[in-house]
């Protein structure tokens, strides 16, 4: 099953546990807030990703089923390997 990580930017307080537990796809910016590698979670990282989600003190890291992105989400999506913040559904607002 394809999954994707997302950060709730309001809940996130920059503890940085995610980057410790999941350095393959999370690094911290210069203020300590997570930057996620865009796209679906690579195979083999599902268990550590679940651990990172459970370890987030702010409950701000979310693992979601990768659904078909809407047009605007797709436009915001960086290329695989590029770093991004939280990609969110910004459909009809």
């Amino acid at each position: 099953m394809s999954e994707r990580l997302r950060v709730d930017p309001i809940a996130c307080t920059g503890h940085g546990a995610c980057a410790d537990l999941l350095p393959e796809v999370v690094r911290l910016d210069e203020w300590g807030y997570p930057l996620l590698t865009a796209g679906e979670l690579p195979a083999g990282l599902h268990r550590p990703a679940r651990r990172a989600v459970a370890a987030c003190p702010a409950r701000a890291l979310l693992l979601e089923r990768a659904s078909t992105p809407g047009p605007r989400t797709a436009a915001r999506q960086a290329l695989p390997g590029q770093l991004t913040g939280s990609t969110q559904d910004r459909g009809p607002q």
């Binding site: 930017p9 309001i10 300590g32 559904d89 910004r90 607002q93």
Partner: protein
């Protein structure tokens, strides 16, 4: 500058009464397919989202949830340089209320709200009383904050909380006011719906707030203009105009020569990397410094961050402080511009709302358009007269 040509369309005659409204537009008749009527209408709150798609999306969400939808008219014009929604509400409240009534009818909405700055509420209350709609539409006062009109912040305010944005999952169209599917529609969009329902071709015009230099300082007015117009025909650009701000404080600076020729519609502005946004058009006169103007606005934007998302909370004040330094004549610290660019990259797409994205879009356009001014500053001089006050309005502006 002479008085603007106020068309009879949205801005009316200046008489906000129901009698004047009915004399100009006639009574509102039922519209079987409002979304069909709104096919060519885009939202006028800033994002330009197609009105028909939004109507249908909320109707669908209400059906799926098995509940009734809520309709909120958004008059929260937090943008300090924008006055078009406030002007519309004071001049033609009944067009807005007609649009609200149409949207509520289409969605079968149980709750109908009109949210606006507190100055607009007495006039709106009078208009509601004239129509016998006082019990049907709830008026909500919005705080005078930049983000108060942001969709999710507006919903929070209507629900009685502080007007702060929230994450967009789930979206307001699915879970808005009271947790119910909610249509949030800008007041100009609603007024245009009311004209479209009467068979008027209202989708091809838009309200703009114009800022130009007059003999006694800045002149601000609101006009209704065709979207296919050249910007240079809508905004008087004098020989001395340095640059044009399009869209507002989440918008873009354009070089005057580029701005003059561009069409105001979505495709035209997109071709030069701009968007109409909140409908602000400002012609920066030749004796002002674009970098100083930008620094003053970005200082305000940083202060108006809701402070909820780390990258925005950390990034915008740093960018604002760097711009303050760049706005002073004298060689800047090495790497300062690169810092601004790196911080800009770090805030984009990482907020719950579009405040960081819009703010750094504005900054990036300034660094492009005012590159010659930045070079002049580095060499120790500035275009602006030292005594000149900022051109663009910034609330509480002592910067």
């Amino acid at each position: 500058m002479s008085a603007p040509p106020l068309t009879r369309g949205l801005l009316g005659t200046g008489d906000p009464s129901l009698a004047a409204h009915l004399a100009a537009h006639g009574p509102l008749t039922a519209v079987p397919d409002l979304a069909g009527v709104a096919a060519d209408l885009t939202g006028r709150g800033g994002a330009g989202f197609p009105a028909a798609r939004k109507l249908r999306a909320v109707a669908e969400a209400a059906r799926a949830a098995g509940t009734t939808a809520v309709v909120v008219g958004n008059g929260g014009e937090g943008e300090p340089a924008a006055a078009k929604d406030a002007t519309l509400l004071s001049r033609s409240p009944h067009l807005v209320l007609d649009g609200l009534q149409l949207a509520a009818g289409y969605l079968g909405a149980g709750t109908v709200v009109l949210a606006a700055g507190s100055a607009a509420l007495p006039g709106l209350d009078r208009a509601l009383a004239e129509r016998g709609d006082r019990g049907r539409v709830r008026l909500v006062a919005l705080p005078d904050r930049f983000l108060a009109g942001e969709e999710s912040a507006l919903v929070a305010a209507v629900d009685g909380g502080p007007a702060l944005p929230r994450t967009k999952v789930p979206p307001v169209r699915e879970r808005g006011v009271g947790g119910r599917p909610t249509l949030v529609q800008n007041v100009e969009t609603l007024a245009r719906l009311a004209l479209l329902a009467r068979g008027d071709a209202a989708a091809g015009h838009t309200l703009v707030t114009r800022h130009t230099a007059g003999p006694h300082g800045r002149v601000v007015d609101v006009a209704e203009v065709p979207l296919h117009a050249r910007l240079g025909d809508v905004l008087p650009l004098h020989g001395g105009t340095q640059a044009v701000l399009v869209g507002g404080y989440h918008g873009s600076w354009l070089p005057t020569a580029v701005a003059a020729e561009v069409a105001l519609d979505r495709a035209g502005l997109a071709s030069v990397g701009a968007a109409l946004g909140a409908g602000v058009l400002a012609a920066l006169p030749g004796d002002r410094c674009g970098v100083r103007e930008t620094a003053s606005v970005v200082g305000y934007l940083a202060e108006q961050s809701a402070g909820q998302c780390g990258p925005c909370l950390n990034g915008l004040p740093r960018i604002a402080a760097a711009l303050e330094l760049l706005a002073r004549p004298g060689p800047p610290r090495r790497g300062l511009l690169e810092d601004v660019q790196r911080w800009s990259g770090l805030v984009v797409g990482r907020g719950a709302c579009s405040h960081p994205d819009g703010s750094v879009r504005f900054v990036a356009s300034a660094l492009r358009v005012f590159a010659p001014e930045l070079s002049a500053h580095a060499a120790g001089w500035c275009t602006a007269a030292p005594s000149s006050a900022p051109f663009l309005p910034v609330p509480g502006g002592t910067r």
